[in-house]
Subunit: 105 residues, 2 copies
């Protein structure tokens, strides 16, 4: 099931812009005090590093992703998610757009 | 004063992507039931139409804007805003990024 809306308490108004705008996200604070972000990756092939562990939940579009080092390329579609360890990297290929919620920790 | 965070109750997780990603926004619902959006326009010269009246509040970066028909080009910087009538158009020029809150009505 796709998460169409997310209950939050506040949003950071200034966007995070990565890779010349190929990835744009906004940070959110939740009622339990935790933080998440919502964002979109546009048509691109990009490599991201993590600090904390992350879970990327697809809420629209799709991507292919690869966990480093050299995991298999897998597809992530609406309602699906994938988890990345902290202090590691993942690669992502997007044909049109990949809309996501990033869950931390 | 720049609005760095906005108190909201929910966010629509899927982004609005306009002009091949030159403008990306997320819709928000506020505690009073009203709707706003937060977004960013990247380096571009774009023309937008309005349905309801809008007020664009700059929360980062800057833009030049022109209200149609043929208003003067004016600058909008953090803490400033400009208002657009309903059912009309405005043009915007951005050199790097223009981060905004869009207030409706």
């Amino acid at each position: 099931m796709t998460t169409e809306t997310l209950q939050v308490t506040s949003v950071t108004t200034k966007a995070n812009v990565y890779f010349d705008g190929k990835c744009v996200s906004h940070d959110l604070q939740l009622p339990d005090g935790s933080r998440k972000s919502v964002g979109v990756v546009l048509a691109a092939e990009l490599s991201f590093g993590t600090a904390a562990p992350e879970r990327m939940e697809c809420v629209g579009g799709a991507c292919e992703y690869q966990l480093e080092p050299q995991g298999p390329w897998q597809t992530c579609e609406p309602g699906q998610s994938f988890s990345i360890a902290g202090d590691s990297r993942f690669n992502i290929r997007v044909a049109e757009a990949f809309h996501y919620i990033c869950h931390y920790g």
